[in-house]
């Protein structure tokens, strides 16, 4: 009779232990998941910022920026250009602004990774033009 009570108590305790283990596991899984997302975003930011810097410098120096973007592996996407890489996507949008004596050409290079906008980098260059006196 006493052994039976003990067995029941043990079973009840085990049920509680399993219940609390499940609760703990659920919370901890979320924490580990969040940590993994943050790590992925950090990695994507680190790698894509270097890639974006290279693209920005190449576009600054390029005489034909569209040919340069194609050479770098970008594909046309609406009004801009897009490059899919492992863990992130780079997009390039061109904006031209006329000034009194020339044109300011700006390429905005944006990075998107793990469901989040990571950063946007502008690459601006001024091109003077002939102005009639």
């Amino acid at each position: 009779m006493r052994d039976g009570h003990r067995g029941n108590a043990l079973l009840v305790e085990l049920m509680f232990v399993i219940f609390f283990f499940m609760l703990g596991a659920m919370t901890l899984t979320q924490l580990f998941g969040d940590a993994k997302h943050k790590s992925l975003q950090a990695k994507a930011t680190n790698v894509s910022v270097m890639e974006a810097e290279n693209v920005a410098d190449d576009l600054y120096a390029a005489e034909d920026p569209e040919a340069k973007l194609q050479e770098l592996g970008f594909e046309r996407n609406g009004e801009g250009w897009m490059l899919n890489k492992d863990g992130y996507t780079l997009t390039v949008v061109r904006k031209d602004e006329d000034t009194e004596a020339g044109t300011l050409r700006t390429f905005v290079i944006s990075s998107y990774g793990d469901g989040k906008d990571l950063f946007s980098l502008p690459s601006t260059r001024y091109y003077p033009k002939e102005v009639s006196p």
Partner: protein, 146 residues
């Protein structure tokens, strides 16, 4: 031969649970702190690089302002000397002229972009060219103390 009976006493399972959950909590905490620090460092680095490129865009904008002044001054000037004198009088705010060199600085926190442009001969395109385009970092000495 004696047979040992392994019995799980009351409370043992709870103790094991506490140890396991505590260990997992520690691991989760360390992982979260590590990943947040990585992300914070990466974000700050990306932000600083973005600001430097913004600054570079700002210098190009200043170059456009200067070029507009050069166009205006070319219309009235008959000689190179008169042209440079006119440019000196009409320079945008923050710029200085020394001979045919125009210089200015663009500040950003503890960084400064030193810009220097040479004014080229009248009637030619481009009207000015970059001579110096350097980002100087003024690192306070305290930053190197650990």
């Amino acid at each position: 031969m004696n047979k040992r009976k392994v019995a799980l006493g009351p409370g043992a399972a709870s103790l094991i649970l506490i140890v396991v959950i505590l260990s997992l909590c520690m691991l989760a905490m360390l992982t979260t702190i590590g990943s947040r620090n990585d992300y914070s460092l990466a974000s700050r680095s990306a932000e600083m690089i973005t600001r430097v490129y913004d600054l570079q865009g700002q210098t190009e904008r200043k170059m456009a302002e200067l070029d507009a002044v050069l166009v205006k001054c070319q219309k009235d000037a008959g000689s190179m000397e008169a042209y440079l004198e006119q440019v000196g009088k009409n320079l945008p705010e923050g710029m200085e002229i020394n001979g045919d060199l125009v210089s200015w600085t663009e500040p950003l926190d503890n960084r400064t972009m030193n810009c220097e442009v040479r004014i080229l001969e009248m009637g030619k395109l481009p009207r000015a060219e970059w001579v110096n385009y350097r980002l100087k970092v003024d690192e306070p000495e305290d930053d190197w103390e650990w």
